[in-house]
């Protein structure tokens, strides 16, 4: 039984610089980087050495804690350097790309006959496994678990994020192959949520349940959808896969090639021509940004959306899981009486001489200023207005801060991921780092309990 889900709580953040729905092929990047940190809590063990040449889809490294999980190269090229940080932890693998890709060919399985175990081994060996994330803890899925369900969100609500209805067009075959394979990895269902009135390519897929969901951000967050459809209880595991990664998984299953190309939205008010580009995971962002015409030099470049993405600089690289590059103005300037004068050009969740409530559809040009200093928690009730889960956000944050494991568990820590607290962080009057608090809380639980 599929459900029509309506989310009431939340907040749509309308920003200037939304990517125009035209797709260009990005100029082929010469330099690539893979950050093992993108795979949270994975300790990389290198297979290739510096200077090694490889094809797209060849194994670069594997997870030291779980040797079956392989991580493969997104393009063919040469491993130019392995950058290390404190305690010799690998921070970045720099790759010089060949001018044209040669692919490592994985075997092609018959999807209708293959068993779950075969498919699992196939995904692990081919480098597609890291695309599967598990809850609790919001970490890479553990291959030995059997999840009670797998969730995929096909609904985009985050500000400036790549619209999945657009980026998945024409990929029906790949999507279907990936969903068929995933359906064999769970003893439950594959659930897909699409926007209420959308014509998403995900709509007509088999071997899954398609739900329609509507409402403001964070309705597109998979955590909110899980809470509506089949909430996670203690002892249960669910997996989530990003819809755009289904395409990569699907292509691998159909052709045997690990094709790391993804449709990426370049968006943000600092860009003159925001639009979509086909780009490869880990590619340098500078050529893309110059294509999209950077108009403001003092800007922040973010791999991901403006709520949960990671700050990179102009010389940075597209993150492993990101399909959006946001470029917004830096806010490193003072503002005279910014705390008491009436404000018309910034978003507010209150009406304290702030007027964004009058024009809910107006598009704003927000910068990275914190608009105030960090304080202790004071206000109450404002997080709940943008938090559509049956969880007490303030209380769970405080439980994480005091590292009260029992209380964290009781309050629903197994159900959340940092991104679920992006909006509460955005509206926080005390400017507390909610996502960081939750991430650290999850890590603590994973260490102590998981």
């Amino acid at each position: 039984m599929s459900k029509d889900i309506k989310i009431k709580k939340g907040l749509n953040i309308n920003l200037k610089g939304e990517a125009e729905k035209t797709l260009s092929k990005a100029p082929r990047a010469a330099s690539f980087a893979i950050r093992p940190k993108d795979f949270h809590l994975v300790t990389p063990k290198m297979v290739l050495k510096e200077g090694a040449k490889f094809k797209a889809g060849e194994v670069l490294f594997y997870d030291k804690n779980n040797a079956s999980v392989k991580f493969v190269a997104p393009i063919s090229g040469t491993l130019t350097s392995i950058e290390r940080g404190a305690k010799r932890v690998i921070t970045q693998l720099l790759i010089q790309a060949d001018t044209a890709d040669t692919y490592f060919l994985n075997p092609v399985l018959d999807l209708n006959k293959a068993t779950g175990e075969e498919l699992k081994a196939h995904l692990l060996a081919s480098g597609c496994w890291p695309f599967i994330t598990q809850r609790p803890y919001h970490v890479m899925a553990h291959p030995d678990h059997s999840p009670k369900a797998i969730f995929i969100s096909g609904y985009t609500t985050a500000p400036l994020a790549a619209d999945l209805d657009f980026t998945l067009i024409g990929k029906e075959a790949e999507l279907q192959a990936a969903v068929t394979a995933l359906s064999k990895l769970t003893h439950g269902q594959v659930h897909i949520c699409i926007g209420g009135d959308s014509n998403s390519p995900l709509k007509g897929l088999n071997h899954c349940q398609v739900h329609s969901i509507s409402g403001p951000h964070p309705a597109g967050n998979v955590g909110v959808q899980i809470a509506q459809i089949d909430p996670i209880n203690k002892g249960e595991t669910v997996w989530t896969v990003k819809a755009e990664d289904l395409v990569i998984i699907g292509e691998l299953l159909l052709t045997g090639k690990f094709n790391a190309e993804r449709i990426v939205a370049l968006a943000g008010s600092s860009l003159g021509a925001p639009q979509y580009y086909a780009a490869i995971i880990g590619s340098e962002v500078a050529p893309l940004i110059s294509e999209a015409q950077l108009v403001a030099q003092n800007s922040r470049v973010i791999s991901g959306d403006v709520l949960s993405g990671r700050a990179i600089d102009l010389q940075g690289y597209l993150g492993y899981f990101d399909n959006t590059i946001s470029v917004i103005p830096q806010g490193d300037d003072y503002e005279l009486f910014g705390w008491n004068k009436p404000v018309f050009d910034k978003i507010s969740s209150t009406r304290a001489l702030t007027f964004s409530w009058m024009q809910p559809n107006k598009k704003y040009d927000l910068n990275t200023n914190t608009n105030g200093e960090h304080r202790a928690f004071v206000m109450t009730g404002n997080y709940e207005e943008v938090f559509p889960m049956d969880i007490f956000p303030l209380q769970i944050l405080k439980a994480c801060m005091v590292q009260d494991l029992d209380q964290m568990e009781a309050l629903g820590m197994y159900e959340v991921a940092p991104e679920d607290f992006a909006l509460t962080e955005f509206v926080c009057v005390s400017k507390q780092p909610h996502q960081k608090i939750i991430r650290e809380g999850l890590d603590l639980m994973y260490k102590e309990i998981g």
């Binding site: 608009n371 200093e373 009730g381 629903g412 509206v427």
Partner: protein, 408 residues
């Protein structure tokens, strides 16, 4: 090199030094800092704690200005220089320049002492503990002059403010960590340390105490009776004021709490701007009405007679209770303090209800000091974490049940 640049240079110079918090407090008052986001959300709402607190202060300004006029008006009325108001809220007898000048002369020192002393303590603690000066006192400092009698000696206020800020707030770790509302802690300190000053009929009208002293010295002048409505009712006297006077606020009382209409406007500002909880305000009014109705019912049933000490206040119609004393002011500006109140939405309903309910109960049963809202809010401040605990417990049970239902 404008002001902005010079201040920025100074800020860099003070960075890491002991006086940095004090400098930053003044700097951020002028300019929102140039701080940018790092991890987490790259954009943030425009609201910060300063704006929040500022909105509460804005909502109190009408009460403050009215309080100044009222201080002058009550004084000149008592010594017989002017006539009582005759034509509604905008009566010319009330809105006199001379009333304002007299009132400002009395009230502004209270404001200055409250802010001066309180902020000095805040700055001191910020410098010692090396954290930023937090904005909580901006509201407390405005509340304090509005909830004390106009003739309170400034030294008394000073001691109370120091006590309230240190014991009521700083020992717990500053804004956001306190258990009791600091403004009410200050008020309660005054009440328990100097009871004769804080009650009776000599403190509510400026000059009443002096006049009483003059009378005692044998001078031939008329005495000033500055009794509040609650004081009269507690002694089973009649109210002595028209309902509209009470609603508009042309009555003796603490500086800023007399005008129900302006408090109502403040409430609308706070609710509209989403700064204060409408749940607490509404449920507190409901609580007060319920308790008032119970007392009215007791009187109607004839269970007590007019000889009883409680008769005066018990027989006051329930809706009149909402307009007299500090109830409205307490509900709107102090019960809604997010730090000391309940933090869950369901908890706010319970918390507010009991504030209203207990206020009227204390008001009726405590003839020595017939105003209950201060004690009711302080009591519920203490219970707020307990209320929240049970609300949160409900959520936890629901989560466990989900698991049990599944496993059956």
């Amino acid at each position: 090199m404008g002001l902005k640049q010079s201040l920025h240079t100074l800020k860099e110079k003070y960075k890491g030094q002991k006086m940095a918090p004090a400098f930053n407090a003044l700097h951020t008052f002028l300019y929102t800092p140039n701080e940018i986001t790092h991890d987490g959300t790259h954009i943030k709402v425009v609201d910060d704690l300063k704006r929040t607190m500022n909105t509460v202060i804005m909502a109190m300004v009408p009460c403050l200005i009215f309080g100044m006029f009222n201080a002058g008006y009550q004084h000149y009325l008592a010594i017989g220089e002017i006539n009582a108001v005759s034509s509604g809220f905008f009566s010319s007898e009330f809105w006199q320049w001379s009333n304002l000048v007299f009132g400002a002369w009395k009230v502004l020192p209270l404001v200055l002492v409250s802010y001066g002393v309180g902020l000095a303590v805040e700055f001191l603690f910020a410098v010692i503990k090396g954290h930023e000066v937090e904005e909580g006192y901006l509201v407390t400092g405005m509340l304090v002059p509005l909830i004390v009698p106009v003739d309170i000696p400034l030294w008394m206020l000073t001691i109370a403010v120091v006590f309230g800020v240190v014991i009521g707030k700083e020992v717990f770790g500053g804004t956001g960590m306190n258990i009791l509302n600091p403004a009410l802690t200050i008020r309660a300190f005054l009440f328990f340390a100097y009871p004769t000053w804080m009650s009776g009929d000599k403190v509510w009208v400026a000059g009443a105490q002096e006049r009483a002293n003059e009378l005692a010295a044998g001078m031939k002048v008329d005495s000033i009776s500055g009794e509040t409505i609650l004081g009269s009712l507690a002694q089973n006297k009649s109210m002595g004021y028209e309902l509209w006077d009470m609603f508009y606020g042309f009555i003796p009382g603490s500086v800023g709490e007399t005008s129900t209409v302006l408090i109502l406007i403040g409430a609308l500002i706070l609710i509209f701007s989403k700064i204060a909880s409408w749940r607490i305000m509404l449920s507190a009014v409901i609580g007060a009405v319920v308790m008032g109705l119970i007392f009215n019912g007791v009187v109607d049933a004839g269970w007590i007679n007019s000889g009883s000490g409680f008769y005066g206040l018990m027989s006051t119609p329930y809706w009149n209770h909402l307009m007299i004393g500090g109830l409205a002011f307490g509900i709107v500006f102090m019960a809604t303090d997010p730090v000391t109140g309940s933090q869950t939405n369901k908890g706010k309903w319970i918390y507010g209800f009991f504030i209203g309910f207990l206020s009227i109960m204390i008001r009726v049963f405590n003839p020595a000091y017939p105003e209950g809202v201060m004690l009711a809010i302080l009591l519920m401040n203490v219970f707020a974490p307990t209320i929240d605990h049970y609300v949160v417990e409900g959520n936890i049970k629901r989560r466990l049940n989900r698991l049990k239902v599944k496993n059956v």
